[in-house]
Symmetry: C2
Subunit: 233 residues, 2 copies
């Protein structure tokens, strides 16, 4: 796990019994670390997105979304899904485009980590520019997965990009009106709709809010509209 | 609405089109203010808890809870419900004791506003001691309602009382593990279970979390474990 992952995610994972190995996002190669551990211990490596079973599991969110929309009598024109390596949006796109004719599924990414959006535009996998920063710690994968991009390039209507300011505004709206705690990376799809980057007016749009691993101090700063302030030592 | 109601509740109500009249909890008589407005304007007075239709409406929470428990295959031994004037717990008790044989429904109140707990113990309506304070702004009714106490004295298994510290601990747990924004008064039932004031071990217990009207500055202070600090001017 990146050493700068939310403490709540680190502590929560340890509390579930895991041995967590941390690394530095900027200089370490997590793929190599994972291979080394698996080789040394005989552990099975489960990739976080570039794995057919992971994509299929994440696709159950798309099945639930289609089911909930049907119960509400809502005919979805589009659905917006947060995107890091692209597994969740690939799974959702597989489910939703299968079940709902004509639905447009969009990946939403944070500014500086718009690899899927740019890759979709040119039809091949492009990486992010090194050195970018974003509040959305869960969406910082370096480039689209092979498997996920093969699915997404076939099924997605395109990508959308949101700024950290748009993300924190969405987090505040979720706090105030939905009474939900959403982490930055989990709020990008809502941010795309609220900011107008996705034109939602007069359309029926599904929005995925996924992930609540946000530390209390960051959440408090987001509520105070000052997410840039460093945490107390 | 009390002048010290959460700003999010005041602003949210105004945004829905209401004209909000504020009063001072310590010195004004809200019943008199309501009667005066109704008499002058011809408006219909809807009491917040001492009204059969309000109790019935709140009782739909009990119906939903029983339905959700049945779907989970959970056989409820008890259910804990937040209590101010007693309408929500009366409605829930009507629904739950009708549907689930032997269930024990408890009212949960904040320290200093335990009028229902004490009234249940002696079998007649007692008021709160004036001058008490609590974070649980939604649960500060002066004494049990006539109608609600008639129901609650017949159907409840008793009352439980929690401190503000226990309430804020429950709010932090809801933030961290449930990813829910719960106002202080909405977290008292969870607080009763977590604090051990209700012995939940080896029992199947329904817990009602109701109400998310909490201002961002108070929520941030609760997350920082310093709810007593006054808000910034």
């Amino acid at each position: 796990m990146p050493a700068d992952a939310p403490r709540t995610k680190l502590e929560g994972t340890r509390a579930l019994g895991a041995a967590v190995v941390t690394y530095d996002r900027a200089i370490d190669d997590r793929e190599a670390i994972g291979r080394e551990i698996a080789g040394r211990t005989g552990a099975v490596l489960i990739r976080p997105y570039d794995d057919a079973l992971i994509v299929a599991g994440q696709g159950t969110l798309g099945l639930e979304l289609a089911d909930q929309a049907a119960r509400l009598g809502a005919e979805l024109d589009a659905t917006l899904v947060c995107c890091g390596g692209g597994g969740l949006v690939a799974g959702c796109a597989l489910a939703l485009t299968h079940l709902i004719r004509g639905i447009a599924v969009h990946a939403v990414e944070p500014l500086g980590f718009d690899d899927t959006t740019r890759s979709l535009a040119v039809g091949r996998r492009l990486g992010n520019v090194p050195g970018s920063r974003s509040l959305c710690d869960a969406l910082l994968a370096p480039m689209p997965g092979e498997l996920t991009f093969a699915v997404n390039s076939r099924l997605l209507a395109g990508g959308l990009v949101v700024t950290d300011d748009e993300v924190t505004r969405a987090m505040r709206l979720a706090f105030r009106h939905l009474k939900l705690v959403v982490e930055p990376g989990g709020a990008v799809a809502l941010a795309a709709a609220l900011s107008g980057r996705f034109p939602a007016r007069d359309r029926t749009v599904g929005i995925v809010l996924s992930g609540g691993n946000v530390d209390a101090d960051l959440f408090a700063r987001v509520l105070a509209e000052d997410p840039s302030q460093p945490p107390d030592p």
